[in-house]
């Protein structure tokens, strides 16, 4: 708040912002504490006034990335009010597209050993702790879909693992160029979603 500090009013926020820029520019492996500090025009040890270690900085950058990701998902959901099935499938497509366009986010969010210790138990946690988190957004969409389909043979838990797993796996395989497909991946994904309504049908 005060802008009469040694150098910055809000170094902590700037470190996070520059960290995300560095991720975009140099990829996950280029993300070093010293480079982020230099990008903020501050000494290499200054980040230690705001974060216990690199792990804490990376966790903060992750939180920012998750928030960006969540906005993409919510945008897709909001485009189809009152249609839980369409919401779920369009959100899945937004999910995949996001990571195909930002593959370094995948590395930051899902493979860094800078681990978020807390396992994301969104089902049993109070709303204020989980809202704004993409996985909670995903779970909400699954639950709306579950309620809208009274013939659904699967529990929310099961739809969650199925739907999230499918979308997540496809995102990773395509983003990492792991599969080689004849057709455009989005064409195939749309076909799969249409056939399965994004869930198994029996």
């Amino acid at each position: 708040m005060s802008d009469n500090n040694y150098h910055h009013g809000d170094l902590k926020a700037e470190l996070i912002r520059e960290g995300l820029l560095l991720l975009d520019k140099e990829g996950y492996d280029g993300l070093s504490l010293r480079k982020v500090a230099k990008a903020c025009g501050v000494s290499q040890t200054a980040p230690y006034r705001h974060f216990k270690d690199k792990n804490e900085l990376v966790e903060a950058i992750k939180a920012e990335a998750l928030s960006n990701f969540n906005k993409h998902l919510e945008q897709a959901v909001d485009a189809y009010p009152d249609d839980p099935e369409k919401q779920l499938s369009e959100m899945g497509i937004a999910y995949i597209k996001f990571f195909v366009e930002n593959p370094e986010y995948l590395r930051l969010l899902f493979l860094s050993n800078y681990q978020n210790k807390s396992c994301a138990d969104f089902t049993n946690q109070p709303e204020h702790l989980t809202s704004g988190h993409p996985f909670k957004t995903y779970l909400n969409a699954v639950e709306r879909y579950y309620k809208s389909d009274t013939n659904q043979p699967l529990e929310p838990d099961e739809i969650m693992l199925y739907s999230w797993g499918l979308v997540h796996g496809i995102a990773i395989l395509v983003a990492n160029n792991e599969v080689k497909l004849q057709k455009d991946y989005l064409t195939i994904v749309r076909k799969l979603f249409e056939m399965g309504n994004n869930t198994i049908q029996s």
Copy 2:
């Protein structure tokens, strides 16, 4: 072959072996060229006689890891001869279990930026280049399943993305403790596979 070298008869193979041991012991981030060299009792620069740089060493370790992984998949396939549907679903379960039990392999194989440039185009490559590779094993299982089910509305390409994506995504979410489930994940996976026969049914 000759064992009268400066130090080793087969340093290259030993570097790969020790690299994989180090991955198990210290995780993907602990995998350093210098540590691998030290584990082989050799100077820090000795690996450069066998690999252009760290990237090449990591690629060789990856190849070894993929071969171990492939053995697990083939074992599952071989347990159910003449039942392509069961082969596909049991292989999927073996796939998930393998990564849940060896999460550092996930990091090595799918999120390292030590990239295998060649995108795995297993559909159009000669057999001798692709055999022994887990993704080829997966593709083979998909194709056998496709041939066995004449009512299958999906192309092999589409089944591949669907089946591999689902299995891969679930493996990552569970191995990284990303989902919190009420029941055991294998119970849910088995139920999903039984319902969908590992593919969408229309």
